[in-house]
Symmetry: C2
Subunit: 427 residues, 2 copies
Amino acid sequence: MSTKSLRQSQLFTKTRREAPADEVAKNAQLLIRAGYIYKNMAGAYTFLPLGLRVIEKINTIIREEMDAIGGQEMVMPSLQDSALWEASDRWSDDNVDVWFKSELKAGGVVGFGWTHEEVITDLMRQYISSYKDLPKFPYQIQKKFRNEMRAKSGIMRTREFDMKDLYSFSATQEQHDAFYNACSDAYMKIFHRFGIGHMTYKTFASGGAFSKFSHEFQTLAEAGEDIVYVSEAKGVAVNEEVVKEADLSELGVTEGELEKRKSIEVGNIFSLGTKFSEALNLRFTDENGEEKPVIMGSYGIGPARSMGTIVDLLSDDKGIVWPESVAPFKVHLVGLNLDDASIRDWAEGIFDNLTDNGIEVLFDDRIEARAGEKFADSDLIGLPYRVVVSKKSKENGTFEVVTRATGEVRQLTETELYADFDNNPNT
Amino acid sequence: MSTKSLRQSQLFTKTRREAPADEVAKNAQLLIRAGYIYKNMAGAYTFLPLGLRVIEKINTIIREEMDAIGGQEMVMPSLQDSALWEASDRWSDDNVDVWFKSELKAGGVVGFGWTHEEVITDLMRQYISSYKDLPKFPYQIQKKFRNEMRAKSGIMRTREFDMKDLYSFSATQEQHDAFYNACSDAYMKIFHRFGIGHMTYKTFASGGAFSKFSHEFQTLAEAGEDIVYVSEAKGVAVNEEVVKEADLSELGVTEGELEKRKSIEVGNIFSLGTKFSEALNLRFTDENGEEKPVIMGSYGIGPARSMGTIVDLLSDDKGIVWPESVAPFKVHLVGLNLDDASIRDWAEGIFDNLTDNGIEVLFDDRIEARAGEKFADSDLIGLPYRVVVSKKSKENGTFEVVTRATGEVRQLTETELYADFDNNPNT
């Protein structure tokens, strides 16, 4: 994404009137029609230039927040050696029903990674031997493969998708808890920066053998395939298992205060205890010379699922309404009357000036498209600000600026325009 | 890679005295020992934080040069629908011997993409219908899977690897040729920016049905598994097929002028003609209303193979010698006498100042490691400049600066230090 601005005439994609008939999810319908994604097959999508820009903005936000709490980025392979997974008893298809596996021509079978606990635990044996090596927080944004019976909900549940997965390695429970809480806070920051924080709840879920609760981050949405029980007043959410099994009073709510809502799981954090470090023999020597298994945690966010959730929440009947933080460009500069060379030259100058001012601009410089078509495309693509450059704006010396989210219309002079966008660059 | 600088004490990797016994390739041995990569299994490697930084610098150079000639980045999926590949007769294992395939739980078989001609041709049917839509140059940096009988040469030939693959779509042969030549020039720029341009030859190879020649970019290296025939004097290289089959006189050389050399294929460009557009029915209407198949080309570079080639060429018996363009950090700030708090505080200040001046710094802030160990690690890791901060440098008011590539030693004051690195920031 080294290009700051782009001319629409050069973009190889186009908007489409209709999404494919087999695409029922609203997020995918809008993203396909606007030219962000292409559906290759059930559960596998292409991220087109506009879509890749959104994903990269999402990834940048995730990276900034993970680095801020001590995360270190790396990237592990997809191909999986069965031996590691046999050690944790997760190789068999009886235990894990989402494996893709394939014959190796050199002999044997390989799996395609659907998560990476075993791989990272094996790898960290190289680098952890003493309490002085702890804590450590490696993460990756890497492709997972999951052999789902049904791919559904557009880009929400696919058979291959990038995931940000961070793994924590701690010497003590206190070290683990401190990072777990820091990561939980970082996740809420991330969802707020995505523009979906106000609808996203840190949700109590079952914890497994090593902690009473784990946590999901659930965004309330009609399109969700999950169910959560929420008290908006108390800011508490729990999942179905917790309603049934846990003592709600320790969470400060009663069952009667909880409302059943549909939701999308946009992230989760999990205390793994010593499950994987014991299975794969990842040990360290503590301050007293005693050998112990490392305490682990895992922390996931799906960038594409986040993108789908943003679209589901932030769209209207005309199209997508991107928040500035993840919009592929900040400004949609829509050129009219461009068959007139003097208007075209002048519009090109405005485009250059905006770009030189550090503003990311998509310039609809198409000469043949009609005004109505351009405005409909602009609403569908959904950039935060639409600025019209036309014969009229050249004559008047002012530009019509429409804020996509509110519909607010302003008339700004060229100076006001740069000042307005300069105050808040989205780079 | 949002972090500009890093403290070595926080890095979760460490240097290793020995590479794994089964790792024979020099590039992988050095990269493993220095903590850039980890070997998960034959043909599958992890890129650790230092290694990922190198890959991202390589990718940034590739992106800049591809964008400069009109490339547009996107990313296609790995999972492959057999129907597309049956259309081009490349699904059968009899015709293609590197497929990984897997059963889909929902029924049927999927492949894992080893290249993407079929996928991009299918996709472009959505967006190309007229000569006005041409030419277009989509590209991706995306993971390929190849079921190689033998994974070898370290990170040079693996079973999964990222590839930059660009595909060109043209209306006329002239349009195609213009881009083919522009991309060839861009490739040489890329290899020069990687620091291996002086050893890399645009090499004539067989062209297939649609052009007399295709071109490989071959870097002369003893570790190479390819063979090229080179006239250094005339700046011409050809591969074995061309020596046997083509008329060398039209390339301006005789067989006697060509020297047989080992080499590494770091890139290739290929005219595909209408092979895929005919098989998958990608057509456009020309200026006269006539329907024609689109003329295609493909253009590949492997970032990890480039990284391995750089290491093979640019290393000595002490370790790696990164060129500034792809070094994970520009400066290795090596702290000595850090058990003295006054030295430590002062060294921290130098680290902060370098970072604030926009210099990417790896700070060896480890307190317990001995000086000899730190210098050996620094040579192995191979950053362009080593700067020592010690009791002696604090007292003298000068810093020892060693240039890794030349061994040149300079004594610079703090002011001279910032000025020296400021002149040439590597960001």
